[in-house]
């Protein structure tokens, strides 16, 4: 190889090396840093836009939180404890349950499950912030199946936030009464009292619960007695043939006695049914005399002693 060719080779090699170094330098000092910076800018801009977009929904978020606040019983433990006790007692007693007892337990602060997302000193106040406080309570009472139903329906209609974390219904004796225990847990947000009182909730009550007590066996059929001499009254067909012969209260339990021309006699306590008619209890008429209250096919009505079901007086819902 001549010195000229060697020189050309060296110059060519040097040129290629220089070109490679220039390409490397442009890539290392210009392209890569600017690309990385572009990505950072894009990411920062995207984050900024996302946060701006998030904040557009801030008022709606506050409205939704306010709806929750309005469904609480207050803004402090004392307030909520009192309201919870009062609400449960009222529901139990209004349903006619007896031995109503309400207990409240210690409250529990609930922090955010995502609190770890609020990092550093700046995020500490948010990290330690309490989302809400749970307030548990227990209602115990005794009563008939319809009274239990009434209580449960009233509780379902209450607008305040709750979890029913325990429900226990035990039949007493032969099932004419039930012992009820309901464990309820509500919540409130500290220092945020409701601004409005929401309306009671509309509840579609299932027909199955409106029937006879499932804790009570139907009374055994009674052989029909000899019809009264001369049986002047014509027999009423179907369930309307039953006639109320006695309405009263025996040992604290409402009771009704029925009689039918060919169906025999029946004695019902509250919650028991006959021919699909559920005995709901007694109710005094304007003159102070008790009438028996029944429910059939969603309709409630009263029958006075001596009258048949055909003579019933419907009750307004």
């Amino acid at each position: 190889m001549t010195s000229r060719a060697r020189l050309n080779l060296i110059i060519g090699g040097g040129g290629v090396l220089l070109l490679i170094m220039i390409v490397w330098a442009v890539q290392a000092w210009v392209t890569s840093p600017t690309h990385a910076m572009s990505l950072r800018i894009e990411s920062a801009r995207s984050t900024l836009e996302r946060r701006r977009a998030d904040l557009l929904g801030q008022s709606r978020l506050r409205e939704r939180l306010a709806v929750y606040v309005d469904r609480t019983l207050g803004g402090s433990q004392e307030e909520v404890d009192h309201a919870l006790r009062a609400a449960l007692s009222t529901i139990g007693e209004a349903a006619g349950l007896s031995d109503v007892a309400v207990d409240t337990s210690a409250t529990r602060e609930v922090t955010s499950p995502g609190r770890r997302d609020f990092k550093g000193a700046a995020g500490k106040p948010l990290r330690d912030e309490v989302d809400f406080i749970e307030a548990p309570a227990t209602l115990r009472a005794t009563g008939s199946w319809p009274q239990f139903n009434t209580m449960l329906r009233a509780l379902s209609q209450e607008p305040w936030i709750r979890q029913i974390e325990g429900l226990r219904v035990v039949g007493k004796g032969k099932g004419e009464a039930v012992e009820v225990t309901i464990k309820v847990r509500t919540l409130f947000m500290p220092n945020r009292s409701p601004d409005a009182t929401p309306a009671k909730l509309a509840v579609q009550w299932p027909d199955a619960l409106a029937g006879a007590s499932p804790f009570l066996l139907p009374p055994p059929p009674v052989e029909p007695a000899e019809s009264a001499a001369g049986g002047s009254q014509p027999a009423v067909p179907g369930w309307q043939r039953w006639r109320v012969t006695f309405v009263g209260r025996i040992e604290g339990v409402d009771e009704v006695h029925l009689r039918a021309g060919r169906g025999g006699r029946r004695q019902l306590v509250v919650g028991q049914a006959i021919d699909g008619c559920v005995y709901l209890g007694n109710r005094a008429d304007p003159d102070g005399f008790d009438e028996a209250m029944f429910r059939r096919a969603g309709q409630s009505w009263l029958v006075a002693p001596g009258a048949t079901f055909a003579d019933r007086n419907a009750l307004a819902e």
Binding site: T34, R51, V169
Partner: protein, 522 residues
């Protein structure tokens, strides 16, 4: 011999070469023992035009006053201020012709310096030494770049005191010395034969006479002699005597058998009487320098200034000159490569510097954009964090309120499955909900939060017969809303109906093992 009077100009380089060079000096000054000479020119193409000229006798002055006097004279004669080329006479320097063998051109200055100091017994710093290379020839005929060569050169040494004195005087005259060279080189440049002819240049324009023997454009021998101060005829006689002596000396020392031409430079009152005698002595054509093709006298008398004009013209033409201000310095053997390397490194540095600056500037600009975005983001941060925290609270509330089973509906279903009336009766119903909180995956945000909840339902009943009890259980097995636990045994211990039935149910999403046991007593 009849002298020939004609203009000389063929000693200059080609016009293209001249055009390619840049002129640097417009003033040339010589401070002789008897006269101050100065000339200012402007360069016109490859030639020059005289702007101002001066040749003035020097008065007896103190050392301190000389500078001021020079300044006054130059200013009075319109010689502009600025850097000047200072000419020194042959008398002031020692000139030696040397033949040196050297492996590298870069080492030549050091070798010349050593050779001159050895020959002249100079102490270090006592003199400034510079040289002009005449010819370089390889010793063994090799063409290799690194082969040793023989260099024929003309070296000159100027006492450092002369250099300092010239500098200080010209600095005082506001014409600082930028270059200091031999006046004989100026005369030689005008008299030289570019075709290689041998020329004897006799310059009587100065305070003395200077004889220079030229071979082509190279100075072979140079000597000087003082001249009397009397009238021109006596000066011419003295110059002729010195010329005869010099001629004889040349013939003896330099072996100069003949010369091609004699060039006389000086005032015609001196040169004219010399013509006949010089013809007899040298037997060569004689030329008196009165005009030059590349020099426009512009009406000025430059008969005593030809040497200065020759120096300016040589400098303008780019011809190498001895320069005592910036003498040639030794360079490394690989100096050229080192310089090329340094130049390449410099170019690389500039290229990479430009690239780095470009990148850095781009990044800085983008960083400013990023800072602006981050500033907006930081301003928004507290509001967004509050929003974010409220969003988490809402999600927690949403999940808390969503875990409630519809116990009423489940109870209704249970009651409905007791039909027909009389064959099954309930003893106890227990429902339990256990909400353990929310499972938060590491990724996914609030949308990925899931409640950890268990629900169970226990029914205790009595059946008229085992078949009825099994039919009751079968309905629950077929119910997709619940899973029937396998624990517990059917017994025939009913209080009101013969067979006791216990149904334990749990939500299908949870395994049986995680089911909480019902409370014995609420």
């Amino acid at each position: 011999m009849k002298p020939t009077i004609k203009g000389l100009g063929d000693g200059s380089p080609e016009p293209s070469t001249i055009l390619a060079t840049m002129s640097r000096f417009r003033i040339a000054i010589e401070l002789g023992p008897r006269r101050l000479r100065g000339v200012a020119v402007t360069f016109v193409g490859s030639g020059l035009q005289v702007v101002a000229a001066i040749a003035k006798n020097r008065p007896e002055l103190g050392v301190e006053a000389v500078g001021e006097w020079i300044r006054g004279v130059l200013d009075a004669n319109d010689i502009p201020a600025g850097r000047c080329l200072l000419a020194v006479s042959r008398d002031d320097v020692v000139i030696k012709r040397l033949m040196l063998e050297t492996p590298s051109k870069g080492e030549l200055p050091a070798m010349v310096d050593i050779a001159m100091r050895d020959e002249l017994h100079l102490e270090g710093g006592a003199a400034v030494i510079d040289f002009l290379t005449d010819s370089i020839s390889p010793i063994d005929g090799s063409t290799s770049v690194h082969a040793p060569v023989e260099t024929n050169l003309l070296a000159a040494a100027l006492p450092a005191s002369s250099l300092d004195r010239g500098r200080s005087r010209m600095a005082a005259a506001k014409r600082p010395v930028a270059r200091m060279s031999l006046r004989l080189l100026g005369a030689a440049h005008l008299a030289a034969d570019p075709h290689g002819g041998r020329v004897a240049c006799i310059d009587v324009s100065g305070d003395g006479v200077e004889f220079t023997l030229l071979q082509g454009t190279d100075v072979r021998v140079a000597r000087a002699a003082a001249l009397p101060v009397q009238n021109p005829a006596e000066v011419a006689d003295a110059a002729t005597r010195e010329a005869r002596r010099t001629w004889m000396s040349w013939q003896a020392e330099a072996g100069t058998a003949s010369i091609d031409r004699v060039v006389l430079i000086g005032d015609s009152s001196i040169t004219d009487p010399m013509l006949e005698a010089m013809g007899e002595i040298t037997a060569a054509p004689i030329t008196v320098l009165r005009e030059h093709l590349r020099i426009d006298r512009n009406g000025h008398d430059v008969s005593r200034l030809w040497a200065l004009l020759g120096l300016l013209l040589a400098d303008h033409a780019g011809k190498p000159l001895i320069d005592f201000i910036a003498p040639r310095k030794p360079t490394h053997r690989f100096e050229r490569r080192r310089q090329l390397g340094l130049a390449a490194a410099g170019v690389l540095l500039v290229i990479f510097g430009v690239i780095w600056t470009w990148g850095n500037s781009s990044v800085q600009t983008m960083q400013r954009q990023l800072d602006a975005i981050n500033a907006q983001r930081a301003k928004l941060e507290p509001k967004w964090l509050r929003y974010h925290r409220d969003r988490y609270r809402l999600a927690n509330l949403d999940i808390w309120t969503s875990v409630q089973p519809d116990w009423v509906e489940h109870l209704a279903v249970a009651v409905d499955r007791l039909q027909p009336i009389g064959v099954l009766v309930l003893d106890e119903v227990s429902a339990a909900l256990e909400y353990k909180g929310i499972d938060v995956p590491k990724k996914g945000g609030v949308g990925a939060w899931k409640p950890e909840v268990t629900a169970r339902l226990v029914l205790e009943a009595e059946a008229q017969s085992r078949d009825v009890g099994e039919a009751f259980r079968q309905r629950w097995v077929e119910d997709e809303a619940w899973n029937v636990a396998t624990t517990g045994a059917d017994t025939d211990d009913g209080k009101r109906l013969p067979f006791g039935v216990t149904i334990r149910l749990h939500a299908p999403t949870e395994p049986e093992a995680t089911m909480p046991e019902p409370e014995a007593t609420p």
